[in-house]
Symmetry: C2
Subunit: 422 residues, 2 copies
């Protein structure tokens, strides 16, 4: 497969990737130049962006915009990134969760709520970084395979940037999710097959076509860095402090590893005090290869065929699963999983306590938080953050059978009084 996005003649402009210096293999450390590469030419391990940051201060960051570009010095983007049209995601709410904390018996709990991003999931963060890379690499098409959130984010960001988007989805995807992407792009392609088939086709096209930036394939190293901003924001919004514990959903595992990377960078840069923190991963029982490996005490992840309502977490062979295991074990955290019924309960619990309507992935994370408390794996006296990655309006069916009107009445006061709701 060709890893080239742009034609060879494209020359990178000075500072195209900011403080990033090269790509480095996570397995063997081999370094390659910055470009549309994602697999190590030596060992096929995943490539990751490496940096030389220089000095970065709290004041610099605080003077930046109320979106992810306040952290531009820590991302593989140019210093003038705010000038290029993008969806301006991030700097979402970090809410003190008194009610949910009281319900679960956690003294000091926060919810980082990414459902209020431009297309209502954390994917806007990673896509914004991928868009910058695509632009700097001279890509002519911005593309992805997806079953939902990523499709929305890519189609919207491409529209705003004025770059052609082509978005691939399984043809049996729910109609609302199709609309939520098709409204942004005239090139939504439905593929007869499951997500794996769509993914495979995307890799094939990435190899055949010149100038296509598939956000989660050939510009993945840049894309993935966007998740670090969740970690930066949590630390800054806590008053430049790391939490004691954090619970993060695990699909590919990339988000969890990047939040950890962000915390480590902040420590190294002296932006927060060095302290121990515990990282917990959340999966749905119907797709829990990392949780299964964690509980079995093994290092190898055995791929599964997903069967859960938490479709945005339904990656049966998670690329970063082994790194999730490492981080959760090293930090004294854990990986846990919950049933689909617990996921539904988690959605309603978060809504009723904190007024946040999360999608099934968030329901999974909240339900795992609950289970971690019940099983004594989480210390309820420590400051804890739970991440909500998406919006319940996208997975409405999950709870539409669970909640509804308490009463249906005639339009009279007498009828209302008879309900007992007064």
């Amino acid at each position: 497969m060709s890893a080239v996005v742009a034609e060879k003649t494209t020359t990178l402009r000075e500072g195209a990737f900011g403080n990033a210096t090269n790509l480095a293999c996570r397995e063997c450390g081999h370094q390659v130049e910055l470009g549309p590469f994602y697999a190590c030419p030596e060992c096929f391990g995943p490539l990751e962006v490496a940096y030389e940051f220089g000095e970065v201060t709290r004041e610099q960051i605080e003077a930046g915009p109320a979106n992810i570009w306040r952290y531009k010095a820590l991302l593989p983007v140019p210093t003038d990134i705010e000038q290029s049209p993008n969806t301006e995601p991030g700097y979402t709410r970090l809410l003190r969760a008194h009610n949910l904390g009281a319900e679960l018996g956690i003294a000091n709990l926060w919810v980082k709520d990414d459902s209020t991003n431009p297309t209502n999931s954390f994917k806007d963060r990673v896509v914004a970084c991928a868009l910058s890379a695509a632009r700097e690499l001279g890509a002519k098409v911005f593309a992805c395979p997806s079953t939902g959130n990523l499709a929305n984010a890519v189609a919207a960001a491409g529209a705003r940037a004025g770059i052609k988007t082509v978005v691939f989805i399984p043809s049996n995807l729910e109609h609302p999710k199709q609309v939520n992407s098709a409204v942004f792009t005239e090139s939504l392609v439905a593929v007869n097959g499951n997500y794996d088939d769509v993914n495979k086709l995307a890799s094939e096209i990435a190899g055949e076509e010149e100038g296509w930036a598939f956000v989660n394939v050939n510009v993945r190293p840049f894309y993935a860095e966007g998740s670090k901003t969740l970690g930066y924001e949590i630390a800054e919004q806590l008053g430049w402090r790391l939490p004691d514990q954090i619970v993060i959903p695990v699909a590919s595992g990339s988000q969890l590893t990047k939040v950890h990377k962000a915390f480590q960078e902040l420590i190294k840069l002296g932006l927060v005090e060095d302290k121990p923190y515990r990282v917990f991963g959340a999966q749905a029982a119907g797709c829990s290869p990392v949780s299964v490996a964690y509980k079995a005490g093994v290092d190898a992840i055995r791929p599964v065929k997903p069967d859960t309502i938490a479709k945005s977490l339904a990656i049966g062979n998670p690329a970063d699963g082994i790194y999730v295991l490492d981080i959760c074990r090293e930090t004294g955290g854990a990986v846990e999983d919950v049933t689909d019924d617990e996921v539904r309960d988690g959605i309603v619990l978060l809504a009723r306590t904190e007024g946040i309507f999360t999608e099934t992935a968030g329901g999974t994370t909240v339900a795992v938080l609950k289970k971690l408390v019940e099983t004594g794996q989480l210390d309820t006296d420590l400051e804890t953050v739970v991440i909500n990655t998406g919006h319940g309006l996208k997975t409405l069916d999950a709870v539409s059978g669970k909640v509804g009107p308490a009463a249906t009445i005639e339009p009279t006061y007498a009828a209302f009084a008879a309900t007992g709701l007064a």
Copy 2:
């Protein structure tokens, strides 16, 4: 009807309403004390919050949080408002709309995007202010009649604040909108009847029950002030400058009057330079009583029976309609209306150009913007802001017949190549 929310014994604490001094009748100027009053006892005109601001500086505001409470000195809320659990709405994106501007021939266009608020509409702003009033007045129930956005916002804010909510909706409301409220509250009440019936019932209950704060009935003066924050944010995000022209959707008309009030306050406080600006109102043809009056050159608004897909704008007898007429005429703006087909086109146009998925109200506003240009009513050389008040995921049906996959293919490169999308 009783206008009392709390029992008479409730005493307001010092500073309960910040810099607000009293309520004043918009018609006759009669003043009443701050409290759960909404109609002038002299002339039945609408009561509005009046203030003595003292000094308010840009620096004070800029040092505040990235939500509406940065403007707390200009709202009827206590100085410690951030400490009370609320949804922390506002400070939403103001996006430079190069693509939409190019499409419409407007040199300098911005979109203020309120679809990324906590429950995805501007209603979170007004509800946050109503919640503060309800709390200070000692209300025991937080309630509203609604067909959608307001129900979501009230139910979510009440859940987070830990105050009982009772939300009234027409029983024939679409199932997704019911779910999006019921997920937050166990007291969703479906009423057999149309929105007018629900509204009437709400007023009846407000009169019968002690301690109920109906956000858009008996605490309406406080509630409505929340819309001013849209105006404050636009000015601050433009770099403490007023735009030359602004296009605002008109339902009750309250939002438009409050944005104008906000601009006037900023001028008086010396926070922005005094300059002329033109205010434009947007309605759907199927519910355009204000636009009809504007075009006829009359002052009186003749109520209509709404028939439009823009349901969140479907108020046939808009309370603030006459003030909208005044403001649009005095500032050299206009009120315009568009058909449901134009509304649908407006939704797709905004999505394809700026990556924002708006609801039918936003589709109306964008379509009116287009029509104002085509009819020469808007000066395309002047800096213009258009407000998007809500999210397309809530009115998916409006465009689900208009957009969809460009092709459905087998999962092979050959099949993709044959589509011509490469």
